[in-house]
């Protein structure tokens, strides 16, 4: 093959026999982790924190899904009356528990939404896999600004502390969207939550800035833009949105803080302000933010699909540029969140059209992935199972988005479970599924450990069944008129709600199982007898050319690149990787 000539020349020169200590053990002690500027260690720290908050948000979801098992509204009162007051319960006072139950339900779905959006989905993939992989894939020693990288992790932690404080200071009941005038008048801890989101925004900006500069300036010799792995392209598009949209969120949240504390009258109609102006401000960030959430997932899928079907990615440039196209269009579609909030008909028509336009670059990606699979040598490794799952669930999520972008249909579906199902198919069925797939793909590279294959495949099945069972019939529920964010409902919906709740339990168990076997693989006793091979799956991008787990400075010498990252070594029909 043409590609094995000089691609890994640095590695070949050093030879395979000699192993240096990996980044995991190069330095020891708690301080060497807390104040590390190594992008790989920071990636692991982001991974741990985002997964922890994924668990917190998940528990909140399980609690309110349990409430929705029946229309009686009896679970939360039961829960509250059995909790001691220190934990937010009423300590046996049943009447007080009943009185608080609706508000508690509001707080639970707000915690779920706010934690999942601000603490999990936005930072998860860029923070963990992005940090870990970007310099490795580019052939660099680190990101451009390693200390800034550490700072953005600690800013993230500070923001998370504000969110945790919010939880213990009476919670938040505005929904993650903070719509005015409710958010400027409700008695819950809105200001600390706003500051939390504000601070997390800075973490996101700093990460995006760092990645942008890294991609521009830190590529290895020979790594042209069109030789970058597609994951890097998607991280680049994400970074552009992070940098250009998040400042607007910052100023929005700041204005809302001022509105709440000084009643300045920008958003509050009672003081002469305009609540729809808040929605414009908010969605000018938060719609692009949806693509901050999904674009890194696209990048992961591009890698997974190509590597595990052992075939050159179809339409490299189309996939790369469609990421950029999505980033650009994402800035001019925010008005589709306000079709029923009072905006001019012309604006609604234009926003509706632009919303449909997003479907074009997105479809280019999906078709390219499917075309990559065509006549590929598909191996059903666990990461590939998630990639295939993604194609299925994300397509449903994407297509139902077109329903919601249609003006007349949106009037019917607005604020129903249809919307809930749509964005869970995109966020959970898209980003989180891709994230879990990516985690399984790069887990050996990151940790030097392997997980149980059979367990991972069964857990993947549980996740798939649980996810679809939870959310698919919510499309039907929403179409039949079940509004979102209600803690009780008319009895005719009970069967579907029950199915959804049972599905959420299955999903939760599946995710818990993944956590268990991944954590189990980290035990001392689970350490492999011999170091894992450098190239777990036969990938051709640079991260597979270095030691597993990588050494502190990533590569022995400066890698040079003279081919694109999807020229795989000759396909071996036995499924074994050709190591030359």
């Amino acid at each position: 093959m043409a590609d094995d000539k000089s691609k890994h020349d640095a590695e070949h020169a050093e030879g395979h026999g000699k192993r240096e200590p990996s980044y995991l053990v190069a330095q020891r002690g708690l301080k060497s982790w807390l104040f590390t500027i190594d992008h790989k260690r920071l990636g692991l720290m982001y991974l741990g924190s985002t997964l922890l908050f994924f668990f917190v948000g998940g528990v909140a979801a399980i609690l309110f899904r349990t409430e929705l098992l029946t229309p009686a509204g009896d679970f939360i009162p039961w829960l509250l009356s059995h909790l001691p007051t220190a934990l937010g319960g009423t300590g046996g006072d049943v009447e007080a528990a009943v009185a608080q139950s609706a508000t508690t339900y509001n707080k639970l779905f707000t915690v779920h939404g706010a934690v999942m959006v601000f603490l999990v989905i936005i930072p998860a993939v860029p923070g963990s896999l992005g940090n870990f992989l970007l310099p490795l894939m580019l052939g660099a020693k680190d990101v451009a600004f390693p200390r800034l990288n550490l700072l953005s992790f600690w800013v993230y932690t500070l923001g998370a502390c504000f969110f945790l404080y919010t939880l213990f200071a009476g919670g938040l009941d505005t929904g993650w969207t903070f719509y005015t005038p409710y958010s400027s008048t409700t008695g819950t801890a809105v200001v600390s939550a706003l500051f939390g989101a504000f601070i997390l925004g800075f973490s996101s900006i700093l990460t995006g800035l760092n990645f942008m500069v890294t991609i521009h300036k830190m590529r290895a010799p020979g790594m042209t833009w069109n030789r970058m792995p597609l994951f890097c392209w998607s991280i680049y598009a994400t970074a552009v949105i992070q940098v250009l949209a998040t400042p607007v969120l910052a100023i929005t949240l700041l204005l809302l803080v001022v509105e709440r504390t000084l009643n300045i009258g920008i958003f509050d109609p009672a003081m002469g302000g305009d609540p729809v102006l808040f929605q414009h401000f908010f969605w000018f960030y938060s719609h692009p933010a949806v693509y901050i959430m999904i674009l890194p997932g696209f990048g992961i899928i591009s890698e997974l699909v190509a590597v595990h079907s052992r075939k050159h990615i179809f339409g490299y440039k189309a996939i790369a540029l469609s990421s950029v196209a999505i980033a650009i269009i994402s800035f001019i579609v925010w008005g589709h969140h306000m079709f029923v909030s009072g905006q001019s008909e012309l604006a609604a028509i234009v926003f509706s059209f632009l919303t449909f336009a997003v479907a074009v670059p997105t479809a280019i990606k999906v078709f390219s992935w499917v075309a990559t699979l065509y006549k590929g040598s598909i191996q059903f490794n666990t990461p590939m199972l998630y990639a295939l799952m993604f194609l299925f669930t994300f397509s449903i999520g994407g297509l139902t988005g077109v329903f919601l972008g249609t003006l007349s249909v949106d009037v019917h579906l607005h604020d129903t479970y249809f919307v809930v199902a749509h964005f869970h198919y995109v966020m959970m069925g898209g980003t989180i599924i891709a994230f879990i797939g990516g985690l399984h793909h790069w887990w050996p590279k990151m940790t030097g450990r392997t997980y149980s294959v059979w367990q991972s495949k069964w857990a993947a099945l549980l996740v798939f069944i649980g996810f679809n069972m939870t959310f698919f019939n919510q499309f039907v529920l929403g179409q039949q008129g079940m509004p979102r964010r209600y803690y009780t409902y008319v009895p005719q919906f009970q069967q579907q709600h029950m199915m959804s709740t049972i599905g959420s339990y299955i999903l939760f168990l599946g995710l818990l199982w993944i956590a268990i076997y991944l954590l189990a693989s980290l035990r001392r006793s689970a350490a492999p007898k011999e170091p894992l091979p450098d190239n777990t799956w036969g990938g051709a991008s640079l991260e597979w050319s270095t030691q597993t787990p990588p050494i502190e400075h990533n590569f022995h010498g400066q890698p040079r690149v003279d081919t694109d990252p999807y020229n795989f070594p000759q396909i071996d029909r036995t499924g074994e990787v050709d190591h030359h």
Binding site: A140, L209, T214, V248, T252, L255, L262, I264, I266, M271
Partner: protein
């Protein structure tokens, strides 16, 4: 070549220029490091512009909703003070540019002198701002629910509490940026005193300069929009 720094660090990649004392190991060449820092600064400045753009948008919406109120309320801003501050900031941008030039040619006394002048102008700006704010406080021209100007004999029709909210938000956020500017200018001054900068390495001076020009530029827009509405 500059003569005023210590010997370069040990990690020297082959074929690179003579690395300066602040060369970070993860870059291949000092040029790459300087380019990265400058690009990072420009990207950061774009986030600043977008953050302020939210406030400018709020300003225009308020002005569109209540044109008469904005017109009447802005008469109570002190045009002389605002004008003086505009001249002060533009002058400080000149001294900043001179400091960057001095760093490029390795003239440390000139860097220090010009940085000191820039810090001084920034201080003058804040002092003038202080007197402006104090006057507004005394007249009850405060944002939102704290607006009590009518108790002090000023009657402005409409919703002037919104105008003063916008005024304080915009000039307040800008003022915070001036204070941060004083901080980073002092940091660069201290580093200049230690002789860190010369023709090979002046990125911090240049980047702080870019930041300072942006702070100046934002004021150039704030001044006419708030003080010279007509």
């Amino acid at each position: 070549m500059s003569t005023d720094h210590e010997s370069p660090k040990a990690h020297r990649p082959e074929g690179a220029h003579e690395p300066h004392a602040f060369f970070a190991h993860h870059f291949n060449t000092p040029d790459q490091q300087a380019g990265a820092a400058k690009l990072g600064m420009w990207v950061f400045l774009s986030t600043e512009i977008l953050m302020f753009s939210g406030l400018f948008l709020a300003y225009f919406i308020v002005r569109m909703f209540y044109p008469d109120m904005v017109l009447a309320a802005h008469e109570h801003l002190n045009k002389t003070a605002g004008g003086i501050n505009t001249v002060v900031l533009i002058t400080s941008s000149v001294t900043m540019a001179l400091a960057v030039r001095a760093a490029q040619v390795g003239n440390t006394p000139a860097i220090k002198r010009n940085l000191l002048l820039t810090i001084m102008f920034a201080g003058v700006f804040m002092v003038v701002k202080y007197f402006e704010y104090t006057a507004k406080f005394e007249h009850g021209m405060l944002p939102g629910k704290y607006y009590t100007a009518f108790e002090h004999g000023y009657y402005i029709p409409g919703n002037p509490h919104i105008f003063f909210a916008v005024y304080f938000c915009m000039t307040g956020l800008h003022g915070i940026h001036v204070l941060v500017g004083i901080g980073v200018l002092t940091w660069v001054y201290i580093r200049a005193s230690k002789g860190h900068f010369g023709p090979n390495y002046y990125t911090p001076v240049e980047n702080v300069g870019l930041y300072w020009h942006l702070v100046d530029l934002i004021w150039i827009f704030l001044f006419p929009l708030l003080y010279l509405v007509r």
